[in-house]
């Protein structure tokens, strides 16, 4: 992927040629093309041309070499009808587009731009029953009904809150108890419990203490007494 990004930004062979000629401030002719041949070959040596464009670079290189060899060889050999001026012509045309692209770029950078209208999303109304003859007490009743339906949700929340608090409290109780006694059983702790939830909370508190390494527990068999010892 990195390669692809690079090849999109890589200047094409004609651009390289154009820059070479413009650096020398030469007109775009066969003669000047011949004179920048070495510069072009040097560019190919020193730059890593993307593979996708390598062939295009080589085509231009061979054309340059052909032009140069024709310029050097004194004998005018009637070559195939490969007109060397094609490259010069091509380059001249290319330059015109390069120049034009600068104008386009200016317009891109300019803040003058138009916008199309953003089409509004059409939301279709569902056909619902239209209620008539509503009096204020109906609304009050509806609201009371709504509150009633929400009740279980609120209950659930307070219950959860209580439990969290009691696990903490129970944890402290057990911790305090074990400090004075060094050894006790789970039955002793749970015996004060009023409900099943209480026992569960006690157990959770005990597990938490084990995790904190405040106590160690031992149970000799299934459903046997859990012995709690203080860890010193």
């Amino acid at each position: 992927m990195a390669f692809e990004v690079r090849s999109e930004q890589f200047d094409g062979p004609l651009h390289v040629l154009l820059e070479l000629i413009q650096e020398e401030e030469l007109p775009i002719t066969e003669v000047s093309l011949a004179s920048v041949t070495e510069g072009y070959l040097h560019y190919m040596d020193t730059h890593e041309v993307p593979l996708a464009e390598l062939a295009d670079f080589l085509v231009v290189a061979t054309k340059l070499l052909l032009i140069k060899s024709q310029a050097i060889l004194p004998v005018k050999v009637e070559m195939e009808q490969e007109d060397p001026s094609t490259l010069a012509l091509q380059l001249r045309l290319y330059k015109e587009f390069v120049d034009a692209s600068k104008l386009i770029e200016e317009r891109f950078d300019h803040l003058n731009q138009s916008f199309e209208r953003v089409q509004a999303d059409v939301v279709k109304m569902e056909k619902g029953e239209v209620v008539t003859n509503v009096i204020p007490t109906d609304l009050a009743q509806a609201f009371t009904g709504l509150l009633k339906r929400l009740e279980p949700f609120f209950k659930l929340q307070t219950a959860a809150m209580e439990r969290v608090v009691s696990v903490k409290e129970r944890l402290r109780e057990i911790h305090d108890a074990i400090l004075s006694r060094t050894k006790m059983t789970f039955r002793q702790i749970a015996s004060g419990g009023k409900s099943k939830v209480d026992v569960v909370v006690s157990f959770l508190a005990l597990l938490e203490l084990v995790k904190q390494r405040a106590v160690s527990v031992m149970q000799s068999g299934v459903f046997d007494e859990i012995e709690i010892k203080r860890v010193d």
């Binding site: 999109e8 930004q9 094409g12 692209s101 386009i104 138009s114």
Partner: protein
């Protein structure tokens, strides 16, 4: 009356509408639609109008006046899209001035493979690809989005459009090269 209807349709649709679709739906001749579009352009495409008519590649669309671009962009909280690379810009220029144009033709002018650039320009929405039935290959032309980005209602308003679009040398180059390769 026809002008009014077309104007209403263009306003309501917001998107570019093909002239040929207008003809079909409204059951009108090409000349009548052309006349109506020209009439709308004449009335809308003036400095004092906030709404302009954009025409490109046989599609017309109502857009905001480019001279208000800065304020509208701010209001819409539109951020400028990222800058284009120089090769992309060159390719876009060639397509704008010479479109509809095939990929080999673009590559002939630029002297280098353009597949990747074309794909990126397509993704950006600045150019559109269409199958040319005569040339049996896809041709590319710039989109309404491109014209909006450069704030031009039609390609003919680009600097030296005619000189470039009908440049004989370019035509010569494009015609000559394929024969050579045989």
């Amino acid at each position: 009356m026809v002008t009014t209807t077309i104007e209403a349709v263009l306003f309501a649709t917001a998107k570019p509408i093909k002239l040929i679709d207008l003809r079909k739906h409204l059951d009108l001749s090409e000349e009548v639609v052309r006349e109506a579009i020209d009439d709308i352009a004449l009335r809308f495409n003036v400095e004092t109008s906030g709404v302009h008519l954009m025409e490109q590649n046989g599609s017309v669309q109502l857009v905001s006046n480019a001279t208000s671009g800065e304020v509208v962009a701010k209001f819409l909280k539109k951020e400028a899209s990222g800058p284009l690379t120089r090769p992309s810009l060159e390719t876009l220029t060639i397509i704008a001035y010479r479109g509809p144009i095939t990929k080999p033709e673009i590559e002939l002018i630029r002297g280098v493979n353009c597949s990747l650039i074309l794909r990126n320009l397509l993704i950006r929405g600045y150019i559109l690809e269409e199958q040319d039935k005569e040339r049996l290959q896809p041709v590319y032309h710039v989109s309404h989005e491109f014209l909006q980005a450069i704030g031009t209602n039609r390609l003919e308003d680009l600097p030296e459009y005619e000189a470039f679009h009908t440049n004989e040398k370019v035509a010569e180059l494009l015609n000559r090269e394929p024969e050579e390769e045989v």
